[in-house]
Symmetry: C2
Subunit: 226 residues, 2 copies
């Protein structure tokens, strides 16, 4: 008998995984400090290559700084919109709200410090990008903790990375990984916004499982529905 | 009043985040298919840029293939060991078990398909690496689901990435992100193995929080202990 969480506990964990959403519509209500602290601590409990803990958390509270980030978003977003050649798709894109930089009570940049523990980080040299991967694992912990707290998180990838790194004064060797808007959401939708609005649908994960090599269907594990 | 999970539910979510470990000592007992299926489905519920869902899951059940992966680990590990100039540190490194490739009942490679939904993925072009980041978020979901199921996961980064990609027959445009060993663990330690063995300690996350720029101490959020 292998010890696992109880059935009820497992259901809560699967529930938070399913109910997490990317949020772009925020209420102005502040997030209390203890709530934010719990979220940051959850992030910090992520696994990291060689226990490197390469992340930092930069809270962006300055309105002026946010306006500069928002301007970067707007340049990039306009450029992306212009790439769409299908009129209907372009109209749909225009209707999508893709960030909450000015409205969210918290903007949080998560960075990866490649210099930490240099020169020897256990397990990193063969795949140096694993320090950034570790930072992503921390983002997901924070995202799930936020959902449990009733707090929404939205990842803004429509940004000029170098420009935002400059705005935040990141030194050489420190990289921006995630720019997050954080705050209480107007709602947690039952489906991702992009699915609800018909932009893209959830794939069947069973189609994504192979065995012993790319494209080879599973033989040993039939992977029936849970 | 913002709806959040109950206090009890939150505690379970924080508990699984704290109790997740990187596992390298596995029991031979098989992981039942429904358990593995729930873990893969949890991974698939990760957020992804433009809802791209760029991941695939490759189960490595072939003993021969695993032996080739293990050989890659051994070459890399020997090379890393040789970099250590401090005798005591080198001796400690030798005593660390860093993978469970042959013993774990499941080896699982998670990949990122850069070609999916090409050419236009909403939000990706300005930071193209966000598809790989999405795959990392899926790894963390799988890792937490596994912990809830009493299943251990260990990420092996001491590998020759290109070599493993060749062994798995990944086409151009598909990248190996994580090579995971999965199975019931001998134990879930109360601390990370690298901490328990004195390799590296957990940092104080409060030291990692800045405001409005790199290195600037927090002013608006005092971030007291939760």
């Amino acid at each position: 008998m292998h010890p696992s969480y109880t059935q009820q506990e497992k259901e809560i964990i699967y529930r938070v995984i399913r109910e997490r959403r990317d949020i772009r519509h925020f209420l102005p209500d502040p997030v209390p400090e203890p709530v934010l602290a719990r979220m940051l601590e959850a992030a910090h409990y992520a696994p990291s290559v060689g226990f490197m803990q390469p992340w930092n958390f930069i809270l962006i509270t300055s309105r002026e700084l946010r306006q500069q980030v928002k301007a970067s978003f707007e340049r990039v977003n306009q450029n992306e919109w212009a790439k769409l050649t299908d009129d209907e798709r372009q109209a749909l894109y225009s209707r999508l709200k893709l960030e909450g930089i000015m409205e969210a009570p918290i903007n949080l940049a998560m960075t990866c410090d490649h210099r930490r523990d240099a020169p020897f980080v256990l397990g990193r040299a063969p795949m140096p990008e694993t320090d950034v991967y570790s930072t992503c694992l921390a983002v997901q912990n924070l995202w799930l903790a936020a959902r449990a707290e009733g707090v929404g998180v939205g990842w803004v990838s429509l940004l000029e990375k170098r420009e935002v790194e400059k705005l935040l004064g990141l030194p050489d060797g420190v990289e921006l990984v995630a720019y997050l808007c954080v705050g209480y959401p107007v709602e947690f939708r039952s489906k991702p916004m992009l699915e609800e609005k018909g932009w893209k649908f959830r794939m069947d994960w069973r189609q994504l499982v192979f065995e012993n090599g790319w494209g080879d269907p599973v033989v040993s594990y039939s992977l029936t529905s849970p």
